[in-house]
């Protein structure tokens, strides 16, 4: 771990992203910090569960009232309860990387808004400023103080991904953004609710940027209602059990969380773990390659994360610092302490973040970040997943080792279209079938196709009927995509593929995903997870095929004019007979595929997860015509594989210039 003190003073949320320093009593706001240290076990358990449940209830309020399709179906929102000094108490089971933002922006508000305009009961702040702390502009945050006896007792907060908050591309993920001035507007914290009343002028300002302003107003109210609900419930708890008891439970919860993570870390050796991935094409028209690095250093019971070696900020592939921090917290939360049910406060105390400024993962406020949800957040999640898992796999404790998982997919594949229905209604269509997801492998288990994502534990994909109901499209298939999980002794879960055609109306695809460089690293000999692809055929014969009673199940069976796509490419308007297939990627593998149990490979082939060709070429498993393992042929095939590998190998000096043979760390 770097021993030099990190100086956060330049990181004030204006030019560089906000990183709170030592946080004590901010001026202008009184904090309620009395607590009871001696609470009986039944009361502790009841209050603890109640706090968890309050947070869940806030989440349900959002699910019940919000209208943003991404937020609703993918659970791309989050709710949190924080202490008076903005330490997490509970953080919901929804999108995990928002965890990097809530405590930060709440502290920023205390430091920057307490004296002017003041923080009073009945107030609520809104913001979407990535430099203060959101993952990108469409993630709009609301935070409200909970007062007790004229002091701030706690904070309740939520973020909801909005349908559209402006910017150059409908849906507000802007792959063509050169800088933040192409992005949707960033609004630093403003008091949207004062004394319980919504400020109409501020709401108007906020709505004005959006292609779907009504949605914004609906979701604003959903978020307000969720915070109000949580606030009211906490006030009831205080009434019933007393303020110092409730605060005592919050304290003890965080202290015990901290003890628990320290206990886990004591079973892992000190050391350094590193990952590197390459982003491609920083924005529309660019063809560059951009390395990202993540280093995890464990020293005693603390973990320090650094992005040293990461490229300078570039185009639209940047990630706000708070989101980078959030992606790391997500992986740590899910991998290292899943039993804590989202009580994140104790964990946060043991983590340090050491970003290099003006890089892709800690850009200044001029950088474009709006598409971070598709590109940069996912790469960082995947890299954090990798370094933490590698660290866990260095432990001698079986339980910790078995909790490690290979990395989640490093891009968020999706389509976002907009257009008009047959009735002339404007629509925005964020297609998030990818949320059916895929999970990584563990030392004891393969990853699974359509098993959600590790970073949204309860995410779900849509029903085909839901999307067809909303937009003028017709699906041809939604299915598992064989061979897309990274090969390995334990293989990554496969991704899927989806195909749809226009069905009335008109639609332009502003965002679609295609990439070339493998970005989801395999662990300890496992192969990387797959990539995304979008295949577009214009003027296809699909409608004729329908008329002939045919229902093609692969886009290669359909004739049409192929439109080659690249990542962050220009918008494509699908014509009336336009048809497109897109993929969501699989996760990476663990260990040498040639060490995989041949019987498992045979099962994979039978179930369509792996093709016969891959079974033989990568896994070295030969099957009989009946699909059973041919033991002898497999053995000799594997022997040949091992031999061939060493025959074809060379030394590192042959492929890399001598003194640059190793990235960072070196031999010292």
């Amino acid at each position: 771990m770097s021993t030099e003190e990190f100086d956060p003073s330049r990181w004030d949320g204006r030019d560089l992203p906000y990183i709170p320093g030592e946080f004590s009593d901010p001026d202008g706001v009184a904090l309620h910090d009395d607590y009871d240290a001696d609470i009986d076990p039944v009361t502790y358990e009841v209050v603890r569960h109640s706090l968890w449940n309050i947070n869940r209830e806030a989440g349900e309020t959002i699910q019940n009232l919000a209208v943003s399709p991404i937020a609703l179906i993918t659970r791309d929102f989050q709710t949190g309860i924080l202490t008076e000094s903005a330490e997490f108490v509970f953080f919901g089971q929804y999108l995990q990387y928002f965890s990097g933002t809530m405590d930060i922006f709440t502290k920023w508000i205390m430091e920057n808004r307490a004296e002017d305009p003041g923080i009073e009961p009945g107030d609520m702040f809104l913001h979407n400023d990535p430099t203060v702390g959101t993952p990108h502009q469409p993630d709009v945050a609301l935070v409200a103080p909970v007062f007790h006896e004229e002091k701030v007792f706690a904070w309740v907060s939520n973020l909801i991904h909005q349908n559209d908050v402006g910017g150059t591309v409908p849906g507000s993920f802007c792959p063509n953004a050169v800088d933040t001035y192409w992005d949707p507007p960033s609004i630093p914290p403003i008091k949207i609710v004062e004394g319980g009343e919504i400020s109409t002028e501020k709401e108007d300002l906020y709505r004005r940027q959006s292609r779907t302003p009504q949605n914004l107003s609906m979701d604003l109210r959903a978020g307000i209602a969720a915070n109000e609900r949580a606030k009211g419930r906490i006030e009831e708890l205080i009434e019933k059990y007393g303020a110092t008891t409730v605060k005592g439970v919050m304290r003890r919860l965080n202290d015990s969380g901290q003890e628990s993570i320290k206990e886990t870390l004591s079973k892992i050796p000190d050391g350094t773990w590193r990952e590197r991935a390459y982003q491609e094409r920083s924005m529309t028209g660019d063809d560059g390659v951009y390395p990202l690095e993540l280093t995890l250093t464990k020293e005693g019971d603390e973990l320090t994360f650094s992005n040293e070696g990461t490229s300078e900020q570039a185009g639209a592939i940047n990630q706000p610092f708070a989101a980078w921090r959030g992606t790391i917290l997500s992986a740590a939360n899910v991998l290292l302490q899943p039993e804590q049910m989202g009580a994140t406060g104790g964990l946060v105390r043991q983590l340090n973040f050491r970003p290099e400024p003006r890089t892709i993962t800690a850009p200044d406020h001029t950088a474009a970040v709006s598409p971070s949800g598709i590109y940069s957040n996912q790469v960082s999640l995947s890299m954090a997943n990798s370094v933490i898992s590698k660290m866990m796999l260095s432990s001698q404790d079986e339980e910790i080792r078995n909790g490690a998982m290979t990395p989640t997919s490093a891009q968020w594949q999706c389509h976002i279209g907009d257009g008009f229905t047959d009735d002339g209604e404007y629509f925005l269509a964020p297609m998030t079938n990818c949320m059916m997801g895929s999970t990584g492998a563990t030392p004891k288990r393969d990853g699974r196709f359509a098993n959600g994502h590790m970073w949204i534990p309860e995410a779900r994909g849509p029903n085909t009927e839901e999307y067809e109901q909303s937009w003028p499209i017709l699906y041809l298939y939604v299915k598992e995509h064989g061979d897309t999980g990274g090969a390995g002794e334990r293989r990554g879960g496969n991704g899927g593929k989806i195909c749809y055609t226009m069905h009335g109306g008109e639609m332009e695809l502003g965002v679609y995903t295609t990439d070339a460089i493998p970005k989801t690293p395999g662990l300890f000999g496992g192969y990387p997870g797959s990539r995304g692809e979008t295949v577009v055929l214009q003027d296809s014969d699909v409608k004729d095929r329908f008329a002939a009673g045919e229902l093609p199940t692969d886009i290669t069976e359909i004739d049409g004019e192929n439109v080659e796509t690249v990542g962050k490419g220009p918008a494509i308007e699908l014509d009336d007979d336009g048809i497109t297939e897109w993929w969501w990627a699989g996760c990476s593998g663990y260990g040498d595929p040639a060490h995989r149990d041949p019987e498992l490979v045979a099962t994979d082939v039978r179930q369509g997860g792996v093709t016969v060709e891959t079974a033989e070429s990568v896994y070295g498993v030969v099957l009989t015509d009946d699909g059973d393992v041919d033991g002898e042929a497999t053995e000799s095939r594997r022997e040949a594989l091992f031999e061939q590998r060493l025959d074809e190998a060379t030394t590192v000096d042959d492929i890399v210039a001598g003194d640059e043979a190793v990235e960072a760390g070196g031999g010292d």
């Binding site: 590197r276 260095s394 897309t484 460089i517 300890f524 080659e564 190998a649 190793v662």
Partner: protein
């Protein structure tokens, strides 16, 4: 200490847990000491694609093997000529 599925890290050296072959000293960068096969990124899986159409720089897929038994110990994707990533360095307990 056992690290991942295939490595044993001792006080002074790292060896292969499949065949006991010595791989590197603990003071060396492990991957730089291993036989490596470098090829196009299409080697990384059946659904991979040539990067030509997408980016102006050449990308490679590297596989690092145990010199004793040929076990695949690490894979990595890199820009052609980029240094090998040191994935971990553990302080012996």
């Amino acid at each position: 200490m056992h690290v991942g599925p295939s490595l044993d890290v001792g006080e002074s050296d790292v060896s292969c847990s499949h065949c006991d072959e010595h791989l590197a000293g603990t003071d060396e960068s492990l991957k730089t000491q291993l036989p490596v096969r470098e090829g196009p990124i299409t080697n990384a899986g059946p659904t991979m694609v040539d990067e030509d159409r997408f980016v102006s720089e050449e990308m490679v897929f590297r596989e690092f093997f145990c010199p004793g038994c040929g076990a695949l110990l690490f894979t990595e994707t890199a820009r052609k000529g980029d240094p090998v990533l040191e994935e971990f360095r553990i302080e012996a307990e």
